[in-house]
Symmetry: C2
Subunit: 303 residues, 2 copies
């Protein structure tokens, strides 16, 4: 069994993390946090989402975050875009990369965007085409890859169908999402192996939630299948805001710790990530589930 020597961690906390927290954090604090994430060595930050502020008030300041952000040349500042209207805002904000999203589950997709998968694909095709004409790269988030809150089982065939539809539009990378945290390591290997029969491994990323404590085991399974891009959110941000203890995205610093313990290079500093998590935790208003954050607090590590 061989695993990669180097992987890339992509930070989705400012978008996927905050989107699922109840607190509204000021633009200034978001920017200070993003600066700390970049200081930690992260080269990819999903900064915000250009969805309607009515849907996600916590990210209503996406335009301002991009306006006032000081950008580093070697960092990709990305944003989620649901449709043409969102894309217009994203282009005005001069994002480096757009992220689009669709669910592998028909029921979940409908609940999410009130459209069928095929209707959503039509919308996204236009969005990606325009973005590409404007010289942007595009990342595709496929949700509910490992299970759906409404349908339960999601077939690999359905994941393949959606993935290929996105790749055909020109999507540069697919982020395979375990949206509700039900994946297990055997399933991760099975899904990734199947996708690898028709998709280059370098186009696949894993986006795992730690709801049942299996995110790290699933990341290990991804590494064993040679996946080299993993999403995370500082602190493990993104638990459902009304559910006590529900964990959201796997904590970026916990993934970094795993990578360090396995001898895998990421170019990221664990201490820097913990600093960023420490910075944002008080503004989120609830204890974050990150193991490394808790350990650093216990050790009184005044980072």
């Amino acid at each position: 069994m061989s695993i990669p020597k180097q992987v890339m961690l992509k930070e989705v906390g400012p978008r996927d993390g905050l989107q699922n927290e109840s607190s509204i954090i000021s633009t200034e604090k978001k920017i200070a946090w993003i600066d700390k994430l970049v200081e930690a060595g992260l080269k990819y930050i999903e900064v915000s989402s250009f969805v309607s502020p009515k849907w996600i008030p916590a990210l209503a300041d996406a335009d301002d975050v991009f306006r006032y952000l000081k950008r580093e040349d070697d960092v990709t500042y990305a944003a989620l875009v649901p449709n043409e209207k969102g894309l217009e805002r994203a282009l005005r904000a001069d994002v480096d990369e757009i992220g689009i999203f669709i669910s592998a589950s028909e029921a979940h997709n409908r609940r999410n965007v009130n459209k069928s998968i095929d209707e959503t694909l039509s919308v996204l095709k236009e969005v990606v085409s325009t973005a590409k004409q404007e010289g942007k790269t595009a990342r595709g988030y496929v949700s509910a890859v490992f299970g759906c809150p409404f349908e339960g089982h999601v077939s690999i065939g359905q994941v393949e169908r959606v993935s290929h539809a996105l790749l055909d539009m020109g999507i540069d990378e697919l982020s395979l999402g375990d949206t509700i945290g039900v994946a297990n390591p055997l399933q991760v290997k099975q899904v990734v192996r199947q996708l690898k029969t028709t998709i280059p491994t370098g186009k696949l990323a894993l986006h795992l939630h730690n709801t049942r404590g299996l995110a790290q085991a699933n990341i290990m399974a991804g590494l064993e299948e040679n996946i080299q891009v993993f999403d995370g959110a500082t602190g493990g941000l993104g638990g459902c805001p009304y559910a006590k203890g529900a964990t959201g995205n796997v904590a970026t610093e916990d993934v970094q710790y795993l990578m360090e313990s396995l001898g895998i290079e990421t170019g990221v500093s664990l201490k820097g990530l913990i600093n960023a998590a420490k910075y944002i935790e008080p503004y989120v208003g609830n204890e974050l589930p990150s193991y490394q954050l808790k350990l650093s607090q216990e050790e009184g590590d005044g980072a």
Copy 2:
């Protein structure tokens, strides 16, 4: 890669869990909890420890727990025994199996029992010999197998030496402990593979702590090496009592969830384990880190 179809979960919560919590729980409540663990289908419970009550006040009632426990024929009620004096109490209590412990790290062993590894082996040899004469089986806990809080790195050779010394005494099973939760999945595979060159896999168990959130990834690594016995503590009991959020043993119900998601039989009911965790949590006095326990509380699953 193949994994076992069936594994055995051994519950160490009443001993290793409570030993590291600050609360003192009444004998009556301990017994009620153990009954719930047995109802859940567990066939192995480490009930208590016959160490000096001065060392571990939380387990001072070991004799009484055994005295008043109603025993099921097909369940092994075990207890930890540090020395001949502890063994006398354990024999009087008619334990089904004794557990003895030693560290793979010289410094950790000295800190734990104020003896060198060789001195400890001499003591244990007598203990195991007497226990065997009395018809008892014996389990050997090897601590700090994957890292030591004082020495850091622990060599596999040292783990092998201690393991073989225990097996030579007649120990029936070795429980390999990641006492401080620093193991990673590659290391687990490496250590287990090396031990398997001279020890039958059926004599090896994994005892993992979830301090850095990697216990489940490490269990998966163990499964891939055909390990078929895993220790856990209901609720994830056993975090350091004075450190906020420090997680202790991996939660038995979280391991059960992993096994179910992998299609591995354990004979144990997840719901039953969650019930047992719900019962004990209020008496422990702090929120337990189990994912399944939290999920059941969110879902308002009135089990």
